[in-house]
């Protein structure tokens, strides 16, 4: 498959990318899952999927950790570096202008991807960085930085921050730090034995004392889809801001962040076919304008004296120092790729694969799947425990068959503790995952307990 060029903001020269002609795929007009032949066509764009591991064809079921990248994304970054590379927002030469234009075009592309305005998008180095930017901005507001407008973010003793028991450490530790540095209290929405929760559980924890509610849109362990609309309503009624960890949703489903009503959202480039080293923070304009910066330095200031400085408006205020420019160009290309295939179709494809995994795992003795049961929405990932066999050993067995999965606590120790497990094995699907790969995975999982002498 190849990329639509018509969506590009301008008819900029494509250099060596010309071979990415026009795809044969029906552009995202349906919500049907991708067909086998469409997936095969997509896979041809991903060099990393063509390899073998341990003498077996690679079955990459670890896109929840990091996704593989299509040629168009690799080429876009290289094309930028070959023809337009320069520092952005400084310098007056031609390349500096081209680079700045590419950088800002990329921002507009990513903004439109999540229904936002360009100035509501801040480039960061990854989602963890995005979440820290918000948490430490609030620390600074709590210390009086940012003046009167920042007071809405100032926390003190008696204030509460609410997360869930299922959060990735990236959406937990920054809030623990915010609490520790301001005297606020961190509370959490508990999860049930499956690792999920209901809006009513949130209602018991979100009160008038709540100032921040930070939740994952889709759990990276259970695939549970949070009741975001209900939580936003509860939080806003309490006067709290909602911070959404969209790492496992933005790459896989259509997002309209303003329509969802969240105040901030974070996601990473490398989980959505883009590069490492770039992440996104979405913030409502009014809030970004009020939040004090967390990193300071060059390119985020207007006037500087030896005594102090005035800061630029958002988003530049949050982008101190040299920025990941070629990565921004590449993440925008990743967005174009995803939009060309169609987020609705990607979501439907992954949902079908998750159902196939769940149905297959249900027939294997000794498997305990964590997360939503039948009939409850789940994203395209499945984590499970194999009775008597540690997840590392499960993963090692699958790896010997060429199947790459994630093993461990997936940066969610409290959730695993709640589930009574130290580690699980996680298979996660993406647009390039085939039903044949899922079937190979299921066959191998079925052999694991025998190999380790458990049956």
């Amino acid at each position: 498959m190849v990329l639509v060029t018509g969506r590009r903001a301008s008819g900029r020269r494509r250099g060596r990318n010309e071979r990415q002609s026009v795809s044969q795929l029906a552009v995202g007009v349906t919500t049907a899952p991708l067909t086998d032949s469409e997936v095969e066509e997509i896979r041809r764009d991903f060099p990393a999927l063509q390899g073998t591991v341990n003498g077996e064809a690679l079955a990459y079921l670890d896109s929840g950790a990091t996704a593989q990248r299509p040629l168009s994304v690799l080429d876009a970054e290289r094309d930028f570096l070959e023809h337009r590379n320069a520092a952005v927002h400084r310098g007056a030469h031609t390349l500096a202008g081209l680079a700045t234009e590419a950088y800002e075009d990329a921002r507009a592309t990513v903004a439109s991807f999540v229904g936002a305005q360009p100035d509501e998008i801040v480039w960061t180095s990854n989602a963890t960085d995005s979440l820290n930017l918000v948490a430490y901005g609030m620390v600074n507001a709590s210390r009086g930085r940012g003046g009167a407008t920042a007071r809405r973010f100032a926390l003190t003793e008696g204030d509460e921050i609410v997360v869930t028991e299922a959060e990735h450490h990236a959406n937990l530790i920054p809030w623990q730090e915010l609490a520790a540095l301001t005297g606020a209290t961190l509370r959490y929405i508990p999860v049930d034995d499956d690792g999920i929760y209901q809006a009513t559980d949130a209602a018991a924890v979100i009160t008038d004392k709540t100032r921040v509610v930070a939740i994952a849109h889709v759990s990276n362990v259970t695939g549970f889809v949070a009741p975001v609309a209900e939580i936003v309503a509860l939080a806003h009624q309490a006067g709290a801001v909602v911070v959404l960890d969209a790492c496992q949703s933005a790459p896989h489903r259509r997002l309209d962040l303003p329509a969802l009503g969240v105040d901030f959202a974070a996601f990473s480039g490398h989980k959505m076919l883009g590069p490492t080293g770039i992440g996104v923070l979405y913030g409502r304009t009014e809030l970004l304008e009020a939040l004090p910066p967390f990193r300071t330095g060059g390119s985020m200031i207007s006037t500087v004296t030896m005594e102090g400085a005035d800061y630029l408006p958002a988003p530049q205020r949050f982008e101190a120092g040299t920025q990941p420019v070629s990565q921004a160009v590449a993440i925008a290309e990743a967005v174009r790729y995803l939009e060309h295939v169609g987020l609705d179709r990607i979501e439907a494809h992954e949902e079908a694969l998750a159902e196939r995994m769940l149905a297959g795992l249900a027939t294997i003795p000794g498997i305990r799947v964590v997360g939503p049961g039948a009939g409850i929405p789940r994203a395209g990932l499945v984590s499970f425990d194999v009775a008597g066999v540690h997840a590392h050993d499960v993963g090692q067995y699958l790896d010997s068959k060429g199947i790459a999965v994630r093993v461990g606590h997936h940066c969610a120790q409290p959730l695993h503790r709640r589930l009574g497990l130290t580690a699980t094995t996680r298979a996660s699907a993406y647009l390039y995952t085939t039903t044949a790969e899922v079937d190979r995975f299921l066959e191998a999982v079925g052999e694991v307990r025998g190999y380790f002498g458990e049956v």
């Binding site: 341990n54 066999v389 540690h390 997840a391 590392h392 050993d393 090692q396 067995y397 010997s400 093993v407 461990g408 606590h409 120790q413 695993h416 130290t422 580690a423 190999y451 380790f452 002498g453």
Partner: protein
């Protein structure tokens, strides 16, 4: 032997099913907790010395983890009793060297005994920490006893 079977040698699978030294000692001279932060595997290892000597009387450990980390603790528990602390340190050094060898060279079975079964781990860089977990805990105990 297939790649996977060279990692999971029968000695390792047997030890992971029948753990030697698992449990708490009645009397311990040193105790050390170690955790592998990437996978959450953990072990608490205890050492008791023969009174008035630096000779190891018994080893006891508790913990949970993968078959490699559990079998490694089990093998160490059989190897250590009767050794002086410098003798045990030389085993730890030899074990570490074997795991870092990337599979090059022959480990010394004379001093490592059953622990040579972990030679295959050297080719799996992600699993070296699993195999080392109990041995690092033993080193920690010896530091306390010095």
């Amino acid at each position: 032997m297939s790649g996977l079977d060279s990692l999971y040698q029968q000695v390792i699978l047997d030890h992971s099913k029948q753990l030697s030294g698992f449990g708490e000692l009645e009397r311990a001279d040193a105790e050390r907790f170690e955790r592998n932060p990437t996978c959450g595997d953990e072990i608490t290892l205890q050492v008791a010395l023969e009174p008035g000597t630096d000779r190891i009387a018994s080893f006891g450990w508790q913990g949970r983890g993968c078959s490699i980390s559990m079998a490694s603790a089990s093998v160490l528990s059989e190897l250590a009793p009767g050794l002086t602390m410098p003798e045990l340190q030389s085993r730890v050094d030899a074990f570490r060297e074997m795991l870092r060898s990337r599979g090059v060279g022959e480990p010394d079975e004379e001093i490592l005994g059953d622990a040579v079964a972990f030679q295959g781990v050297a080719k799996y860089v992600m699993r070296i920490k699993c195999a080392m977990l109990a041995w690092v805990a033993a080193e920690g105990c010896m530091v306390q006893l010095r």
